[in-house]
Symmetry: C2
Subunit: 347 residues, 2 copies
């Protein structure tokens, strides 16, 4: 039998490969695989569905991740997928597998974090499955949300010559992870009583307890701005921009100097001899929103807090490019989380 | 900090404990945790949602489980939860975590089995998440189904003096598992070229490739019989009967001689020095339906293929009891899968 390594396809290639033959059988299936969430038709409002799985040792390290934060994050990253469709999350189901090493109290902590996020985003936990595992913790959450059909924003509907916008700042979650990994190593090697996180509270919070941008979706609705395409930034800016461009049949040009990066991210990157722009492009886990809007919204958008215009779309033939601070232009590469590359340290 | 072992609560106790404080926030949440599926209100039809997680080394052993069968089973057990609400499964999302030891071809096999089950039950695969794990395979599936509100059958609505019915036969999946475990041991110890499954094809199929009872739900609809309460038998007959009784506030009396058990199940149990009735009561993974109906349906029901009347409900004060073949009566005990007891071999 043929044997193809998973890394030969990569995460996105693998999903495409395994799902390419799917044809919807039910009238209620409006949109299946291929966006932040599926879209189902069960009446006047449409239902959005999305699933995420978090695995110990891959997506989180319990050495430095408090279970309450992990619970919060696992719900927030799912809510983020619904906001990225311009919808409102409503229900989640939670499946967890834990080894016998966990105590009831530790699961209470995990659930306390999930309930906190549920409260913040107005979500009901409606079901799930709890089982044992031989090795550590596995959390799988499915979120259901709702939206009017006219409000739903897909990722394949960007047009040429539109503005590309991102919310918040990028690369911080990845730098927070690097800091945690560094302190973990230092901590293991010395008798230091406490790891040193002073001055880096923001990037730590970005890694351990990311927020979904409910506020931005509400803000855009208030200002009557409907993005033409939208996606949440879970795998790094480059990868997400290329999703929108590839699926919409357009190209793009973004400007390095316009990419919003926090001071702590710059500082940490400098300490670690890394390039902050590369962290924003490929770091992932920021859970900010990336969206496109028509050019004439420029003035309204730039006046809004928490939104940065970072470039524009163009013809597909021009490719997906970034203009650097020194005026050079180079082609973006989607690295994503490269989950199937061993020891990449952050997937 | 307090440390309570998970086994102190058990699976059902743990779920109750972690979810007891939930209060629904959304009008669209009709029924949350506590039945085979949650019930959501998004228009004329109601939506049913259920999640199951399957873990390598806990729920399946890849030594003897073909990936295609595993894919089929993982969808079928979810579909079963929707049928157990008297609904129709419509969509699933699939989250899987795999180690790098898996090949693309092996995942194709897994998905081929899932697609086969999707075809059989008319389900669309609408989304998911594919990620890596450090150790083996983890599959989490969420299924969405639909039903008219008046058709939905909960597990807490049985009345006193009703018939208790089960579909198909029970204990076979558990006996199939015991056979597979035995042959695995024999196979490891000797140079035998092939394990010996002759004469046991049925119980093997029941373990490896269980079917969800779509046919029974359709049959009951045709005959205009609406069960008063229903649940699917995933954890063994005793456990499921007690779910219905406890949640409905009734007791029950079932008759050992009425419990449908296949010849191969009896034969295998005899070979292994086990009691076939105990396997039916506590074995699990049969994915048959257990339901209650008013007494006056007796004649119609007993004329239907694939349905057995095994007893009746009574006052709660009389407890949940079984009358044995020799006329003794004893109290049922819900053992379930006891997922959190180490080395139980079948959870």
């Amino acid at each position: 039998m043929k044997y193809t390594e998973l890394s030969a396809l990569g995460e996105f290639g693998l999903i495409d490969h395994l799902t390419q033959t799917i044809k919807a059988k039910n009238a209620s299936t409006l949109k299946g695989v291929g966006d932040d969430a599926a879209v189902l038709d069960y009446g006047n409002k449409k239902i959005l569905v999305s699933t995420d799985m978090l695995i110990q040792g891959i997506h989180f390290d319990l050495t430095y991740t408090p279970l309450k934060h992990l619970g919060y994050k696992s719900v927030a990253v799912n809510a983020s997928d619904i906001y990225a469709m311009n919808g409102t999350p409503k229900q989640i189901t939670v499946a967890i597998a834990v080894s016998n090493h966990f105590s009831v109290e530790s699961l209470e902590e995990l659930y306390a974090g999930m309930y906190l996020a549920c409260k913040e985003y107005g979500i009901d936990l409606v079901g799930g499955d709890t089982t044992s595992s031989k090795t550590g913790l596995c959390i799988s959450i499915t979120v259901l949300g709702e939206a009017e059909e006219k409000d739903i924003v897909y990722r394949n509907t960007a047009k040429e010559n539109e503005l590309i916008c991102t919310t918040g700042d990028l690369g911080a979650a990845y730098m927070g992870l690097q800091l945690l990994e560094r302190e973990k190593l230092v901590f293991q090697d010395t008798n230091q009583p406490q790891p040193d996180f002073a001055g880096y509270e923001y990037i730590l919070e970005r890694q351990l307890r990311p927020a979904a941008r409910k506020d931005i979706v509400q803000l855009l609705k208030e200002k009557e701005i409907r993005p033409t395409a939208m996606i949440d930034i879970s795998d790094g800016l480059a990868s997400e921009i290329m999703h929108i461009c590839k699926d919409s049949g357009v190209g793009c040009n973004i400007y390095e100097e316009k990419i919003p990066i926090d001071y702590q991210t710059y500082k940490m990157a400098e300490e670690l001899n890394m390039n902050a722009t590369v962290c924003a492009l490929s770091g992932g886990e920021d859970y900010e929103l990336l969206f496109t809007v028509p050019l004439d919204k420029y003035d309204i958008l730039t006046a809004l807090p928490g939104i940065s215009v970072i470039g524009h779309t163009c013809k597909a033939a021009e490719g997906c490019r970034m203009t650097t601070r020194d005026g050079n232009s180079f082609e973006l590469k989607a690295q994503g989380w490269t989950n199937f590359t061993p020891n990449n340290g952050q997937s």
